[in-house]
Amino acid sequence: MPDPEPAPNGALLRVNNIEVIYDHVILVLKGVSLEVPEEGVVALLGANGAGKSTTLKSISNLLGAERGVVTKGSITYQNENVHGLSPNELVNRGVVQVMEGRHCFEHLTVEENLLTGAYTRRDGRAAIQRDVELVYDYFPRLKERRKSQAGYTSGGEQQMLAVGRALMARPSLILLDEASMGLAPQLVEEIYDIVKKLNEKEKVTFLLAEQNTNMALRYSKYGYILENGRVVMDGNAASLLDNEDVKEFYLGVSGEERKSFRDVKHYRRRKRWLA
């Protein structure tokens, strides 16, 4: 396996071998480790239930509300242990999660949603207003809808709003969970283009959890593949896209003949990285 690209500014976030248990019994993560370099875009890939969202929620500590607990391992951000900090303390330090399913505040207007994103900031109304305009620059559609209640905007607009709202906290790291869910491919492309721009211009680091492997790898520099709560593979985005197994199991392209569903068990066992 190729070594990770040497990170230019060192790792912003390090997750070391964490284990997560829900409701005291359900073991969801069985030792996940990953690194996100400063100003990087890293993709966390895997099928449904692999543990992508749980990994993100352990980092932003939104697990507690779902009765999940990180029982082993450590999480460091800017070389400090952040495991167990409250979500609002983490937002304060610049870690913001955009949750799967968008989760806008339905009865608040688009603009109020953005202002709520700046809840933890103390740098005054003028600075916050400037950032509202900045978000509108990136997402002109939101500006058109600024006065409508978020619940009445379209799915794409809500996803943009969720990302915009996260930006309002002036984060250094955005944990973006399944931004492509339920959106038209073109819209997904649009949103990831903006993610790329935000990364380049605003220097925001991204950790993307995605099922859409192809899309996520095209927009990120490094990727981890999760399976059953474990990292089974990682590498540069380009090398992952090239990898025979990734092609076969996640991208749905394969040089070999079509496989019958009956062979799935056998087929699964042929994964080289599990051997």
Binding site: G64, E66, N88, V96, Q97, M99, H107, Y119, T120
Partner: protein, 311 residues
């Protein structure tokens, strides 16, 4: 003026004033419901508790009098009661709500039922269950001016209640719509998890909202206590607030006021003009019938937030 018309006017004004009193109680419900989606069954008991505490701070023979040998003047007693309500809010958050984040609304609702009984019991043990006359110097009796000039009988206390309610609603509306905390309160009401994800501390918000509704409960407790004495049946006015909420919408501050007024006027007029036709005493259930009709045709109430359904 035509005596019949005058009588009608008096009925309407009496109804409006009674409505304001209901609205004051309903307001406390709306605040907590708006910010946390909890229907706080203990709101009526909170009114009672606030009134009991207030009475105790200023009355001879209360705890303060017995322990320290003096009583507080009215303004200090009110300030102290506000502090008590804030402490109560903190205690409720610390020992009840904190453990119920992200639970079903029905579970939170049941927790508040428990809270109502605990609070009622504690109030009984601390302050005793006798009826206490609360007098903080609010004007009593009929307004002479209205009686002389228009021959109308209106209680002064009810006028004070109306003015207080108006001020309270204005302040709350500004608070919810214009301030950072107010916006955060509405955000929490919409989506707990999303609120957490943008860095809003639910615990802080809940303490704030329960404190504010504790203070509103104090205002309602003062008005009801001045009107009919501080007694344990005060906690039952919570039941009267329910139809007010259904009419006005659980999430609307102005709705609580308008709902209260409609219920107040409606039940007085119904009693006077429809009552004789069916043998009287319809004042007690008229409000609930009205609420039922609303549930059938407009479940979100007059001013409630539209139930958003995207198609």
């Amino acid at each position: 003026m035509n005596p019949e018309l005058l009588f009608f006017l008096e009925t309407v004004i009496g109804g409006l004033m009674a409505g304001v009193m209901y609205a004051l109680v309903a307001l406390g419900f709306v605040l907590i419901f708006k910010a946390s989606g909890i229907f706080n069954f203990a709101q009526g008991v909170m009114c009672l508790f606030a009134a009991l505490a207030l009475y105790d701070f200023m009355a001879p023979g209360g705890w303060v009098d017995r322990w320290f040998g003096f009583t507080f003047p009215v303004w200090a007693a009110i300030a102290l009661t506000i502090v008590v309500m804030i402490i109560l809010a903190w205690v409720i958050e610390r020992f009840v709500l904190q453990y119920l984040v992200q639970q079903e609304p029905i579970i939170l609702f049941m927790a508040t039922i428990g809270l109502a009984y605990v609070l009622e019991g504690v109030g009984d043990i601390l302050f005793g269950s006798d009826v206490k006359p609360l007098d903080i110097g609010l004007p009593q009796g009929a307004s002479d001016w209205l009686l002389d000039n228009f021959n109308l009988y209106v209680e002064k206390l009810e006028v004070v209640a109306a003015v207080t309610a108006a001020v309270l609603v204005t302040v709350l509306a500004v608070f919810f719509q214009r301030t950072r905390i107010g916006r955060a309160l509405r955000a929490v009401a919409d989506d707990h998890q999303a609120a957490l994800s943008v860095g809003i501390s639910l615990r802080t918000i809940w303490v704030i909202v329960w404190s504010v509704s504790g203070i509103v409960a104090l205002v309602a407790g003062i008005m009801w206590g001045s009107k009919s004495g501080v007694q344990f049946s005060l906690s039952l006015i919570a039941l009267k607030a329910l139809p007010v909420l259904i009419l006005g919408g659980f999430t609307s501050v102005p709705g609580a006021i308008v709902g209260g007024l409609i219920i107040g006027v409606g039940e007085k007029i119904a009693e006077v003009y429809l009552g004789p036709l069916v043998g009287g005493a319809i004042e007690n259930w008229f409000a609930y019938m009205l609420a039922l009709a609303f549930l059938l045709f407009r479940p979100q109430g007059l001013f409630g937030e539209r139930i958003i359904e995207r198609v």
